[in-house]
């Protein structure tokens, strides 16, 4: 059970949040111009990293805001939390 530092509310128990998969996958602006393969890449392909991973989370039972975190999947350590639209503070 993580403690997640919601950028809007502060530190809260993981049970208040829901995970939203890999971060920084931008929905194509012109989907109609993509081939099946390109669209499939956006639609289906997600990384499953052992190590540092960028993830979307939603404070579902709190402020309902979406934000990003940088988490090490090996030990669940959260290295950074940042708002949607912001650049990740860690490479």
């Amino acid at each position: 059970m993580f403690l997640i530092n919601c950028p809007y509310c502060g530190e809260r128990d993981q049970s208040e949040f829901s995970a939203g998969g890999e971060a920084h996958i931008v929905r194509p602006k012109q989907p109609t111009e993509l081939s099946d393969d390109q669209w499939a890449e956006f639609l289906f392909m997600r990384k499953n990293i052992k190590g540092i991973q960028f993830e979307r989370w939603n404070h579902a039972h709190g402020c309902r805001k979406w934000f990003n975190i940088v988490r090490d999947t090996r030990n669940d350590k959260i290295h950074a939390v940042y708002k949607m639209g912001e650049k990740p503070p860690i490479k």
């Binding site: 059970m1 993580f2 939203g20 989907p31 669209w39 639209g85």
Partner: protein, 1001 residues
């Protein structure tokens, strides 16, 4: 009670307060402070169970949570009985009833014991190998295996006890109240840290509490006296919370810890009533100090499992703490110094110690010398090669070890005894450390795995960190705690400590015997009954990984998770396979550390508190009118309203007919409602629905279909345009929360430039749907001021109106295909408006109908239910709803996926209608549809998604998804059932009123 087995000068047991209890039906007596195990031993009862596989007699072996044999069933009440509890952890109380678990029919005569004679035939994985074939015999085998295997009886009635959950936050949590935990707790609390100290026993102090030995002194006092004073100072510290009878079940990342506190288990039967039995603490600690101690290891030799063979430190606790002699003539067997402490304790209490058998060469530590001074005989460099006695040990056979200790030599000495204490060294309790994700390192000199790296704010101190001697425990616990907490407590710096130091170490995982390995029974895992031979066999058969060997032999897989056996299993694998212990790695310890009852896990979340129950404002009316309810998500929805003795089928038929014949009324309050506002509201709807929204006039409604990005139907509902930049969207009942989340996701992450605000208003409004040919008349009685003419108020429009002085919104929309109105009004008026409509409708026989009739009515019209006729694999094209997909819009969620190679396949499953050849035959939802019953294997073409008998059409109707269904209209097919094959025809999905005449009737 056997008087000879109790010593009287005991500080911990109140020998003036006698307690009666029952074991295996027999009434026995013990004292306040006893555990069930100590009381049984005081009654000279060692035999408490039968072993799992061979049904060998087994006795109490330990004194704590690591006990493998004394697993008992407590209580015999159908709602209160609890299996798999350890007699060593049950505090004795007046009225306790316990029974042996792993025996049938009784512990003294056990049918399964015959397995012992056949044991050469029961090697590792016997059950897997023998009962594998034929597969359908398994049901039969399982019955007998389970019956004789002794997994305990589960209660058959609901648990009457109360359980509780609570949160706890602290700066420092210390797990374990032995000497090192006490040092840490004092250090933390004295330095103004909010500290919690928990221990699973009823009092603090660990084993030092009863360590009264010349070889262990602090500032000229016995270690126990010194510790007693430390405990007294703890009680005066303000920042410290002490929780005894509390055991940590799980240690998760982020220092999140679950601990179970026993509140009433130790109370007399009549005092337990109406009190909370156990509490689960959910602890968030900034820092955690693990001080969980170590477990003594058994020794692995032939017949090391007989009743009366007990861990040496447990014998010491029974005599020094409980005042109970485990025997009158005790022998000890060891590979380290601990057994000498036991020997001295026994000797001081007047129990005759036959001898100590020590596998080491002569050693001269302080404690060994003291034992010798007391005249205790020692067999150096010797081993026990066998034990005798069926239901209780009566003798041991001792032989000398060869020079290299790989074999035994010389003459066999037989020594009579009624108890054998064994000590194979110590295993640090690193379970919680590894649960929390910590990595272990191996220390060669005494073969222990120790805490190494952790990512959490935690340390391990004391013997769970590999410090086994008093001096080291005190010094290192104090300095590690200071460093970890960044404080300076000097209380422990200038102590004068006398502490016997172990000078020689020696370890043999599997002790040699005078008999060949196949002829011996050296048990490794006492609870699961696997021997060292089983592990060796597994290795011969090619298993290499510890995890595989463990599963194949079931070593370490019992309820004790191999607390006693894991190290030996690893040691034997290491020796046999020639791999270093440190490289083998250990098995993973998983929570809970000791078993938890389900009651503790669920706490108060039972019965009506199991999940949130949502009720509509009209709920009470449904109750008064005898509705049966259906769960839709968390909602309770009126399902149907049976009249006296009416079946569900009859009620639904009656309700469905009435709605079309005259008038029906439905509580639709549960439909999700989302208020959408902002200058980009229309653009937003354009992007989330498949159809176009910009041109929808204010005052009008439109049906919308929402897809996932993969093109599959996600949700549907009607949205009304309240003003230029204001809409109200309805969603399905079950989809409301998910739709809201999904829309917020897109708004916040993909389209933050849109000026749109979403508010969930589901609970703000009650929604009352009045439908049927007489609906107009009824609504005009309820809202006389509202012009209901088709020209003023056509289908798919809404009007703002007032009922008395209360504002409401009336929508002319229909899910049944009938002329209908949906009145939306502030929730608190829901019930009174419903009653008003009902009253107004009485002259038209207005009939309340539930969700089942609603489903039937919409199926007659071929309207889909998202989630019933769709399942996440159905596109709008599959539903033959191409009309709802805007061709003009550049993009909407899921658009691109509608022409992926897979979604444009012609032979996808498509929605069709189904009629049965026999109009009375109602199909089962989920039934498969086939075209050819002769070709084997039969190709499944699709399945029924909705099926009803239509009272309005007087025939069976169904919706289904069928491969290439679009092109199969009129084709005859089959639905094969268990006992018959049903002939069907593929039809159009609309069964009633294709021309939509009834909407405007």
């Amino acid at each position: 009670m056997n008087k000879n087995l109790r010593i009287t000068n005991n500080k911990f047991i109140d020998q003036t307060s006698r307690i009666s209890f029952k074991f295996d039906g027999k009434t026995l007596y013990g004292f306040k402070g006893d555990t069930l195990a100590s009381a049984l031993l005081a009654n000279n009862i060692h035999l408490v169970g039968r072993s799992f596989k061979y049904h060998r007699p087994r006795g109490i072996m330990a004194c704590g949570s690591e006990e493998p044999n004394a697993i008992v069933q407590v209580g015999n009440d159908a709602s209160m009985t609890e299996p798999n509890t350890r007699a060593t952890e049950i505090e004795l109380y007046e009225g306790l009833e316990a029974s042996s678990q792993n025996c049938w029919p009784s512990v003294n005569f056990d049918i399964g014991a015959i397995n012992n004679f056949f044991s050469p035939l029961i090697p590792a994985a016997f059950y897997y190998k023998t009962f594998m074939w034929p597969a359908n015999f398994w049901k039969l085998y399982e019955y007998f295996i389970r019956k004789s295997a002794g997994l305990g009886k589960s209660p058959t009635k609901p648990d009457k006890d109360i359980y509780d959950h609570r949160y706890l936050h602290c700066d420092v949590l210390i797990v374990g109240g032995g000497i090192s935990g006490i040092i840490a707790a004092k250090t933390a609390a004295k330095n103004n840290l909010n500290t919690v100290l928990i221990d699973d026993k009823n009092i603090l102090g660990g084993t030092t509490l009863f360590q009264e030995n010349e070889c262990f002194k602090i500032n000229n006092s016995y270690s126990n006296e010194w510790l007693k004073k430390e405990i007294e100072t703890l009680n005066s510290l303000k920042n410290l919370t002490i929780k005894t009878r509390t055991s940590v079940a799980a240690y998760h990342s982020y220092n999140y810890i679950l601990a179970r506190e026993n509140l009433t288990d130790h109370l007399d039967l009549n005092e337990k009533k109406d009190k909370i039995r156990q509490r689960l603490w959910k602890i968030r600690a900034k820092k955690v100090i693990i001080a969980t101690g170590a477990i003594e290891r058994p020794l692995i030799f032939n017949n090391n499992d007989r009743p009366g063979i007990i861990l040496s430190s447990s014998i010491k606790k029974y005599i020094d703490y409980y005042g109970v002699k485990c025997g009158q003539k005790i022998s000890l067997f060891t590979n380290n110094d601990s057994a000498y402490e036991t020997a001295i304790s026994l000797s001081n209490s007047g129990v005759s110690v036959n001898s100590v058998v020590d596998i080491r060469d002569k050693t001269n530590s302080l404690i060994v010398k003291q034992a010798e001074k007391l005249g205790i005989k020692i067999h150096w460099k010797s081993t026990v090669v066998n034990t005798n006695g069926y239901k209780r040990i009566n003798s041991i056979e001792i032989m000398k070890l060869s020079d290299d200790s790989s074999a035994v030599v010389g003459k066999k000495i037989k020594e009579e005894c009624d108890c054998l204490g064994m000590s194979g060294g110590w295993t640090p309790r690193v379970h919680l450390f590894t649960q929390s994700g910590g990595k272990l390192k191996f220390r060669e000199e005494d073969n222990v795995f120790l805490p190494d790296k952790s990512n959490l704010e935690q340390i391990s101190i004391g013997s769970c960190n590999g410090d086994f001697e008093l001096y080291e425990v005190i010094k290192n616990s104090a300095s590690s705690t200071n460093k970890f907490l960044n404080v300076k407590n000097i209380d422990y710096e200038n102590l004068e400590i006398i502490s016997s130091k172990e000078m020689d170490k020696k370890n043999i995982w599997l002790l040699p015997s005078d008999k060949p390995l196949g002829k011996t029974k050296p048990f490794l895992d006492f609870q699961n009954d696997s021997t060292a031979n089983d592990v060796k066999l597994a290795l011969r058969e090619g298993f290499k990984s510890i995890e595989h060997v463990k599963r194949y032999t079931t070593t370490g897989m019992a309820t004790d998770q191999g607390k006693l056996s894991n190290m030996h299993a690893l040691g034997i694998i290491s020796e046999t396979a020639g791999v270093k212990m440190g490289e083998l790695g250990t098995t993973t310890f998983r929570p809970p550390y000791t078993p938890l009852t389900f009651g503790t896990i669920v706490g108060r979340n039972v019965g009506e508190f199991f999940d949130i129950i949502r009720k509509t404002p009209i709920h009470d009316w449904h109750l008064e009118n005898k509705a049966e309810f259906e769960n839709v998500g968390q909602w309770k929805r009126a399902w149907y309203y049976p009249k006296e003795n009416e079946s569900m089928y009859d009620a639904v038929q009656r309700e469905s007919k009435a709605a079309r014949d005259s008038a029906g009324i439905l509580d639709a309050s549960t439909l999700g409602k989302i208020d959408i506002q902002g200058t980009d509201a229309s653009e937003f709807l354009n992007r989330v629905y498949t159809n176009a929204w910009s041109k929808l006039e204010i005052g009008k409604c439109r049906y919308g279909l929402m897809l996932n990005e993969d093109g599959m139907v996600y949700d549907d509902g009607v949205t009304a345009r309240l003003s230029e930049n204001h809409y109200i969207m309805t969603t399905t009942t079950g989809g409301a929360a998910n739709v809201m989340t999904k829309l917020e996701d897109y708004l916040q992450t993909e389209w933050p430039e849109l000026d749109v605000y979403l508010t969930s208003v589901t609970d703000h409004y009650a929604t009352i749907s009045v439908c049927g040919p007489n609906s107009k008349k009824i609504v005009s009685k309820v809202i006389p001021d509202l012009d209901l003419s088709d020209s003023n108020f056509p289908h798919m429009s809404f009007k703002n109106a007032k009922i008395d002085k209360i504002k409401c919104r009336v929508m002319r929309i229909s899910f049944t295909g009938e002329h209908s109105y949906e009145i939306n009004i502030q929730s608190s008026y829901g019930k009174s408006v419903w009653e008003k409509c009902f009253e107004a409708g009485k002259e038209f026989n207005i009939t309340p109908y539930g969700t089942e009739a609603m489903h039937l009515l919409r199926a007659e019209k071929g309207f889909i239910i998202a989630g019933q006729d769709t399942d996440g694999t159905i596109t709008p094209v599959d539903l033959q709803m191409n009309w709802i997909i805007s061709k003009k819009k550049y993009d909407f969620i899921g658009k691109r996926s509608l022409y992926r190679s897979d979604t444009i396949r012609e032979d996808r499953k498509q929605l069709v209608g189904i009629l049965t050849e026999d109009p009375k035959e109602v199909l089962e939802e989920g039934a498969q549809i086939v075209a050819d019953t002769n070709k084997k294997p039969i190709e499944m073409l699709g399945h029924i998604t909705s099926s009803y008998f239509s009272p309005n059409l007087k025939k069976s109707i169904a919706l289904a998804v069928v491969k290439n269904g679009k092109k199969l209209k009129g084709k005859k097919m089959f639905v094969p059932m268990e006992n018959k094959t049903i002939n069907i025809t593929i039809t159009d999905t609309i069964f009633l009123d294709k021309e939509n005449k009834r909407l405007n009737a």
